[in-house]
Assembly symmetry: C2
Amino acid sequence: MTTVNFLNPVQDLIPLVEARMRLQADRYHSELGAAIQHLLSSGGKRVRPAVALLMGGMLGADPDRLVTLASAIELLHTGTLVHDDLIDGALLRRGIATLNAKWTPAATVLTGDFIFAIAAKMAAGTDSVAVMHLFAETLAIIVNGEINQLFTSHGLASRENYFQRIYAKTASMFELASGAAAILSPVDEETKDSARRFGYEIGMAFQIVDDVLDFTSEQATVGKPVANDLRQGLITLPALYYYEEFPDDSGMKMIIEGNRYMGAAMDRLVDSIRQSDAIDRSLAEAKEYIDRGSMILSTFPGGPEHEALDELSGYIINRLT
Amino acid sequence: MTTVNFLNPVQDLIPLVEARMRLQADRYHSELGAAIQHLLSSGGKRVRPAVALLMGGMLGADPDRLVTLASAIELLHTGTLVHDDLIDGALLRRGIATLNAKWTPAATVLTGDFIFAIAAKMAAGTDSVAVMHLFAETLAIIVNGEINQLFTSHGLASRENYFQRIYAKTASMFELASGAAAILSPVDEETKDSARRFGYEIGMAFQIVDDVLDFTSEQATVGKPVANDLRQGLITLPALYYYEEFPDDSGMKMIIEGNRYMGAAMDRLVDSIRQSDAIDRSLAEAKEYIDRGSMILSTFPGGPEHEALDELSGYIINRLT
């Protein structure tokens, strides 16, 4: 695992983000504070807040407004995870119990709603209508993506669908983190647009690498069965490339037709995908996104935040090795 | 039933509110548009949007921004109802099927989230950070109120708890409608504050009357069992006043202790409450809120919107007769 030192330039700000998120629940029911405490204790890398803090730091935004923005973004992300885990019936995330594993569905729905509400309050706290708008738009995109997935009865083996899905699921939030930080910075429209695209590119890469990790990791590392998505009928990039190369694979056909396909036959299919060049091709695709992001980054001012964003790009790809 | 003509001064704007709400779903999954269409077809009186349009109209706000605000408020209200109905397992609302009666819990959770997202987009569309902030704060208050209720194991017979609950559930949204409309108007801070308080007063009255109606209506009119709240262990103002007068009533004691109390014994208790002066005392309490609202209203400029707000206050009380 690569050492995570892209956080260096913002290491003093991240604890402020954590504190500001926790503070939001203080005036409300104690169970809400406890839930937020629990959710934030999972020890995520805070990649999304880091993107906002680094981009805004590089472009000269006020650190206090950036901390507010970064808190809003991490809360928005957390709120979507709470409802996701409820919908999927997931009992663990990053090795700790999900909220729905401990609480009733009713309490879990409401806690997610509450987190959305305090995320929106923090977004309003940036004092920027443009940020608020982007923030609300991002939530609409994320939820719309999940609705799309829910109403898709079986595995869609289409690149277009895949890229739309990972944009909604992941890249939209990176786009928000990077784009909103630029909105809060004293820069021109072109720079704001570049910052948004930078977030998009690294966000797309981030999700592709996640989808590769789903195939290449061992169960102990990721805390869920390997090829969890495929086992649930969801076709990600490695499976998609594999299918393009072996269109007659009977297992893939079964999944695409929406049939249950499990046990030893599924294990064999997962092994075939792991051993095919679909993994390398997926990584090459992620690398292209990262390279486009780096091109954009090269047009930005130098300094420690710039270097950290470069390092973060490397981290996104190198999580694998 | 009183004729609803408080809508007269805004009758041209209400269809724009409806259209703007529907428009929001256009760029997303068709099922979301269908769901919003279904939810908006229930023929509510649009009291909350009317408050915003009338207050803003009276105070000189731009009609287009008011339409955006009114749409945001009705969407926020609709989103909370979607999650409420899911949590309560309600199958009907105002005589039409709830979303959860037709859809899976997953789709219902996500549709509520989506409605929150487009409501937040519309709120950002008012171009006012102060409105956005109030909007997010209101959602936090509403959800916090529901969490409080969820974690209260049995009937709380306390006025303080009751008034807190109806503030969170209903008055906060009226406060938002009236207060945010004033924020968008060319008026001083004192007037904005008065507008907020006006919304608070009529909102409190609105919910007390709703709670009285729960006892006095016949089942056919309200579409659910009479004294539905009490049957679910929730103590509203009429039951509270009854209990204060008859602290030894065994039925009330059972409910307060969280025991199931149903069948003929419950019917007898409901009849006792209906026949006691608890109903009149509750209405007198609602009337006091309305009177305080009217006092505030009397300090505002005259004109058709002013008259309509007076009429709306009358409608809130006279829905009963």
